[in-house]
Amino acid sequence: MAQQNNGVAANVTHTQPLWLLAEVTYRCPLHCAFCYNPTDYDKHTQNELSTEQWIQALRDARKLGALQLGISGGEPLLRDDIEDIVVEAKKLGYYSNLITSGVGLTEKRIQAFKEGGLDHIQLSMHDITEEINNFITNTRTFELKKKVAAMIKNHGYPMVLNVVIHRYNIGHIKEILEMAEALGADYVELANTQYYGWSLVNRSQLMPSKEQIDHAEKITNEFRAKVGNKMKIFFVVPDYFAERPKKCMNGWGEVFMIVTANGDVLPCHSARVLPNMQFPNVRDKGLEWAWKDSPAFNKYRGDSWMKAPCRTCPEKDNDLAGCRCQAFLLTGDAESADPVCSLSPNHHIIEKAIEDAKNPQLQAQPIVFRTDKNSKKIIAGELQERVADFHALP
């Protein structure tokens, strides 16, 4: 059974990093408007870990109890050593998953992955229309994705599709699910955009209305009833429209560990936005120290760090006060309640964001696509009008 850590002194932990996410590179041939990678990712494209360093990280995490391995990015296939990583993962007993846009997946590579023991491939799809796929990814990749889907199926892999949902495709949920069924998908994740990284910069352009989300969920439920167990459909509800925040990462340093392209070890994707935090790096003291003893991983474990209203809230075990990154980015206080919570004194910030997304003037602002050029601009302090509202670079 999972050990609960609440109320225990912060540095006493029995948690295990069951999920290891390896963000092996931030390089990516796509330029998705909703990408949750950090907007300053361009800083981390030069100092990627070597194959040997990744293999060591896999071994160390396995000893700590890691079981599920996600190989992600950026586009992981831009590295030519994914085959070696897969073989090592198999040897160590991981259940391994390649999370890809499909760009760069060739017959030769997928065969090597199969032989190496990769367990499954999660393919991102964007829409049923070529126009919207190509628009939102800022590339011409529609036909390619369909080919890759067929390749995955032909190699006997379960077909796991991930579709990020936003204003431009939410009206096509039914068609997207029909496409998934036609492709023979076993699992479909309809992931409403979460607003971090590039998607936070583009929030007013991407956020659908509450009515659109409710409608999409209704269609999803109907479709689920129709296909039954044959195709498992997950509908990830967007937290901005919920009363309570999500239990982010299932708790800080509870079950997830992320190793980024440059070796930083994080409890969640966007943790580097938090102030006064020094995240461990696999190049220094290793993963065991990072998980068990590093000040960063212990900082928000349990609930002793919480402030009012969370500290005394009867619901705190349900959500552990939500997401630290969202709290800091939007309110400037990393220890405050996630503003998504209707009990948060800062909840008006979320209400305003929802209102802003209905404002035609803001809607009409150009999308800032995830490109190296835009990342360099943001690092250089440009595009201020798009990031000034936030307390750190998204």
């Binding site: 700590l64 379960p158 994740e189």
Partner: protein, 94 residues
């Protein structure tokens, strides 16, 4: 749905699922896309014998031999098959 399981049925772990012993957690687990389940001791003992060869009856007999002191073990084993089938951890081979 107890009666859906027959003694002559032969099951294997479902496609795209993996069943293995985990040293770090000291339990058996089932791994599948996007998820995992840690099994309690009894469930692990049952699924360990589900190998695509033994029939349900043979699994029951083997466990009765291993745990002669557990009363009514057959009922627990069939309930476990039922649960595992309901969760789609198993596929039927015959």
């Amino acid at each position: 749905m107890q009666n859906t399981i027959q003694h002559t049925d032969i099951y294997a772990i479902a496609l795209h699922h993996r069943f293995q012993w985990e040293e770090a957690q000291q339990c058996y687990v089932i791994l599948f896309p996007e998820g995992m389940v840690k099994l309690n001791g009894g469930a692990g003992e049952v699924l360990k014998l589900v190998d695509g060869q033994r029939s349900v009856g043979e699994v029951v007999a083997a466990l009765q031999a291993t745990f002669p002191d557990v009363p009514d073990i057959e009922k627990d084993i069939l309930a476990m098959f039922d649960l595992a089938l309901g969760k789609a951890w198993l596929r039927k081979l015959n």
